[in-house]
Amino acid sequence: MRLKGKGFPDQQRSVPFTFDGERMTGHAGDTLASALLGNGVRLVGRSFKYHRPRGVYGAGSEEPNALVTIGHGAAADPNVRATVQELYEGLEARSQNRWPSLKTDVMAVNDLLSPFLGAGFYYKTFMWPRSFWEKLYEPFIRRAAGLGALSGDHNEDRYERAFAFCDLLVIGAGPAGLMAALTAARAGVDVILADEDSRMGGRLLSETTEVDGKTGHLWADDVLAELRGMDNVRLMTRTTVFGAYDQGTFGALERVGHHKPRKGDELPRECFWRIVAQRSILCAGALERPIAFPNNDRPGIMSASAVRSFANRYGVVGAPEVAVFANNDDAHRTARDLIAAGVKVSALIDSRDDVEVKVDAPVFTGARVVQTSGRLGLEGLTVEQGGRRHGIKAGVLAMSGGWNPSVHLTCHMNGRPVWDAGIQSFVPRDGAIPGMTVAGAARGRFSTAACLADGAEQGAAAATALGRKNVISPDVPHAEGAAYRHQPLWAVEGRGRKWIDFQNDVHVKDIKLAAQENFRSVEHMKRYTTQGMATDQGKNSNVVALAVLADATGRGIPETGTTTFRPPYSPVAIAALGAGAQGKGFAPQRFTTSHAASIARGAPMIEAGLWYRPSYFPATGEKTWREACDREVQMVRSTVGVCDVSTLGKIDIQGPDAAAFLDFVYTNTMSTLKVGKVRYGLMLREDGYVLDDGTCSRLGEMHFVITTTTAAAALVMRHLDFVAQALRPDLDVQIVSVTEQWAQFGVVGAKSREVLNTILDKPIDDDSMPYMGCADVGVAGVSGRLFRISFSGEHAYEVAVPARFGDSLYRLLVANAEMFGGGPYGMEALNVLRIEKGFITHAEIHGRTTAFDIGMDRMISPKKDCIGKTLARRDGLVDEGREQLVGLKPAGAVKQLTAGAHLFDAGAVATRENDQGYVTSVCYSPTVESYLGLAFLKNGRARHGQTVRLVDHLRGIEALCIVCDPVFFDPEGGRLRG
């Protein structure tokens, strides 16, 4: 019902929207909740457990009842608080957790069965028969539970993330926050003022009280105008500071686009801000708490302050007749404001005996509401006063059990709030968040005057703490300063359920049952009853529940304790927190310089860590990757192939002690390496297991370049920096990663030298570039490097040029290779070539293998210390029974060998007890014309020639294999030197 001429919404401007398909009209400036109330809609949702009819309870983000789904299809946004959702043209809202309709919900049968469904009932039943849990009971429970539904479609909306920095973050723009921001800003402090509401002013927007002789919201507008004009102030509306983290970091969510119709080119829905502030002031205000009385949950029963907000700010009231029930003076204002707006107040019920009520309505003091009526909306209530009962007619009951400071953010770093007997609630603990102070109602200073003064004081203190000199406290404007008078009233005796947590359907008796069953710790009670675990995180209900528990256990409230509040303050969409990651945004994409050329040749690109590498290069007529792979292998083995190996880590190491440093990080000795030579190297972790392998090239007396595997490039770089800085600062050595600076290509095969000599400024031969040689070379006029190393067993080189020449060099090499009958090859062929030679990759050195396991323990030099040397000697790391690297060849015809299969003695049952090892790498070798496998086998080096049984349960493969040396091809290595 609209109150003519009241509130901010422009009553001349109609905004059409739908609720459950029904067309309705609100006004610009409405929330969905105010628009629904304006249309006389009180029933808005169903509760979680009993599916009880529920309506709008509050007017802010703490709303427990009025949760709806906005929009449809991929845009459908479930569990939106109608009290926060701003109305826009065409807004489409649907109620949740009901079937088939909001008015007729089949699941409401749960309410009738509620005597059977008390707190924790499910722990005591549904145990028999066992298989029924997954098949019957659980699916039923799951379907009944839950609130809204996800669409199931991929997100199509835009969300963003951003960082912001400031001297002072003021959280909340009510009277305290405005004064704090103003005071600090005038002192020159860089201020961010954030408020979750669509408009700043806090309670001043909802009250008729005056500040500085003007209506509160007009005063707020004046302050905001001044703030807006200052360069050192940022105002962030619709921005909820939801979490406090270490070193002054805050998480905040800005609702950017939710208040506008979708047109296809819209703003992001939300922006997630990481705000870093040197200091902060929490001015989050306070939240009104309910009173537990029988059937206090009917649609139309609302918080008294919310009723006032709807009347004063939005110009609506939920029904023509309103009753007020409270234990404090504050709620009397609701009655007065409504009467002033022309609404009939059918009763004001105050639980206190000796209280003066200045309200022109039937007043019941020392009275309680003991019953209510109205199935889908409140119709009336029963008031008990001095033993007599009175029936009262009302469609809205405004209730207030007093106020709780919004201490939530101060709990995010484990600060437990402190009980304040004066206000019968919790106030923040001092210093709970480093750099944060709390001002105004958030620390129990409830009058407008006190909030204004406290805000000014804290703002000035923050400015001083930030080093501003001569901070001037502005004159605190005049405002009402009445003391907060109330008398605790938590739960009213009487028949019927007295609800505390509206959404989760927890009532007084549930909490008493928890206490009766000895769930007396507040955490036990919470977890047993689900009290406070609904979407409002107990913002409305926790203090009442605690009081009821304290009463049930015969303890005081402070002794009973409190549960903590966890971030976020109000729920935050995963899409906002993870903005940018959807699709390819999850991790950086690294491209080699040959990427475009590979794609141009139709190579499928596969992920190799963050890199993309060509899988194979399909030729005309080839139908499968295997055909291409076999051809590429044969090409390399017969003529020449070109492969981009730039993804391998390249680390440049220089300095007088570079050689000594390398001796310390490699198991083998690098100091004896001659300039112009390359040596294979093995690195261990300090625990004695293999860290990585690669090559080490000596370009000068004090200059080395080492390579790492692609996977371990960053790890090895960090490791080397660690050793140099933390363990061996005595060594004069400089280390830098040059992986991205150099493009490097393998030119592999018998014709490799011929191909290279087409592009090298000075041709090479065996003397100038012997096996395991390296040198600076000129490559088509560019300074480059040449290494004669091989990962294929072929006569091969790797040639490196500055990355900017990579693309042209690659194209040139491939073109010239083709002249010799060669061409490019991809990762699949690379893998076959290395398996044929028994070369290892991270499939073998997977972090659990030792030098002993891979047959390289003799590479640990006895003449010097190195990282990992001592612990590699541990008994368990050199035990003969360890799984050792072997080769596998099929014994007879097999379908295939598979990596990940386990090995057993022929004839043994495939069980863990009989497990002899596992296969790490397999391929079909066109060279050997057989499947080949690399495997780790217990005591494997002593078992060459034996037959083992390969079992891959998952793929349904079994095969007998002959154990052999892992080098399948050219074991003498003649081709390398040829």
Binding site: L147, A149, L150, H154, Q537, V572, G900, H902, V919
Partner: protein, 417 residues
């Protein structure tokens, strides 16, 4: 009192007045045969199996806070037996079997839901590693199924298969994997132990361990000294502090692991799903909240809370893998303190002090281990000998190098497991 449908029926008509306390709140006695330090999941299950399997009931469980206040009440509730290294395989396999009989054993519904767990992989190399794991699971007698891309699509149609940074190659399905209601596990074991005569003593902090001539004699507590013939430490999250009272340094670093739950939603995720290219795992609770987590925050901490970078990383993984959950709203996030050991596997062993035992180092695996850990620890405490399923969880394995169980292959760096 036994729980069953009839009892619920009866209480419905008698105003729920007949329900009895689930456990007593006894005053601590002067002396016990066995004192367990820590009333979390592992301490409670140990007490339960000491009583049930070994007939030992003169036992106190000392808990500094409330029963179940540690990681048993702040995890992502996943129950699985998909380890692949000897030592872990048999232990977690045993645990899963105990889970499967837990409800009838405890007469308490812990809502163990074997909804199936799917580990996704995103490269050939990852697939081979998961195949090795899955085969090890089958060798152990557990279950595993290899899914190709289409197989994953059948189970998880909502995953983004097309526009994604790391495409899904397939998955390893562990049909018997699933979830359980974490608090209920603590309460069920507490109730079972209490019914058998174990004293559960809450708000009782151990401040010292009394040792005389190399033998343990009792503990000092905030509620006075308690003598004991045997003392068993089982205080994950505070293992180091407790062991220090006995002059021990442990191979443990404490780290914070965050977890998240969204607002309630209608059923949408029916499995436990784990993403292979970033630590991210998710399931949906029976109440409808999406329960998920990721990696450690990666710095040592006792704060039971985390910071934004890891939160964001977890959400990023969610968005790249299953962008349909973008509009689910995170309701609460919290942190548990993990005992991170050098190889990522736990320790259940004797100590250098006669009569003093240690159970720690559960890394990410503590919740699913609760039944088997209690079973094996009870066996060790009662008989002095390690149980077969936990024989490799030795404290000295880092010195001998024997039986190191590094499932992640990251080596002796505590935070990387």
């Amino acid at each position: 009192m036994r729980y069953n449908a009839w009892q619920i029926f009866k209480e419905a008509f008698t105003g729920q007045t007949g329900w009895k306390p689930v456990w007593r709140d006894p005053e601590p006695k002067k002396e016990y045969d066995i004192v367990l330090i820590g009333g979390g999941g592992h301490g409670l299950s140990t007490a339960y199996y000491l009583a049930k399997n070994h007939g030992l009931t003169n036992i106190a469980v000392l808990e500094k806070g409330y029963i179940g206040s540690g990681n048993i009440g702040r995890n992502t509730t996943i129950v699985r037996a998909n380890y692949f290294l000897p030592g872990n395989s048999e232990f977690y396999s045993h645990s899963l079997k105990l889970w499967e009989g837990l409800e009838s054993d405890l007469n308490y519904n812990v809502m163990h839901s074997q909804r199936g767990l799917i580990n996704l992989f995103h490269s050939d190399g990852q697939r081979d590693a998961f195949v090795r794991r899955g085969n090890a699971m089958i060798n152990q007698g557990d279950d595993a199924v290899l899914l190709d891309r289409d197989g994953v699509r059948q189970h998880l149609p909502y995953i983004d298969f097309d526009n994604v940074r790391f495409p899904v190659y397939g998955g390893l399905l562990h049909p018997r994997g699933g979830t359980a209601r974490h608090d209920a596990v603590a309460w069920g074991y507490a109730r079972g132990a209490d019914q058998r005569g174990v004293d559960l003593i809450q708000n009782c902090e151990v401040t010292g361990i009394d040792i005389s001539n190399g033998k343990v004699t009792g503990v000092q507590t905030s509620r006075g000294p308690i003598r004991a013939k045997k003392v068993a430490m089982v205080a994950a999250g505070r293992s180091g502090q407790v062991a220090a009272m006995a002059g021990m340094r442990l191979p443990i670093e404490s780290h914070v692991l965050q977890a998240f739950v969204t607002e309630g939603l209608k059923p949408v995720i029916d499995h436990v799903v784990s993403f292979g290219m970033g630590h991210f795992y998710i399931s949906q609770s029976d109440k409808g909240g999406l329960v998920f987590g990721g990696d450690l925050d990666f710095y040592s901490s006792y704060a039971q809370r985390g910071n934004l970078p890891m939160k964001e990383h977890v959400m990023e993984a969610a968005m790249t893998l299953m962008p349909m959950i973008g509009k689910a709203k995170v309701l609460r996030s919290w942190g548990g303190i993990m005992d991170m050991s050098p190889d990522g596997s736990p320790i259940i062993d004797r100590t250098h002090v006669d009569g003093l035992f240690v159970n720690c180092g559960w890394n990410y695996g503590g919740f699913k281990a609760v039944p088997a850990s209690g079973w094996a620890y009870a066996h060790l405490i009662a008989t002095g000998k390690p149980h077969d399923t936990a024989a490799r969880y030795r404290l000295d394995r880092f010195t001998t190098g024997r039986g190191i169980m590094d499932e992640e292959g990251t080596g002796s760096q505590h935070n990387l497991h």
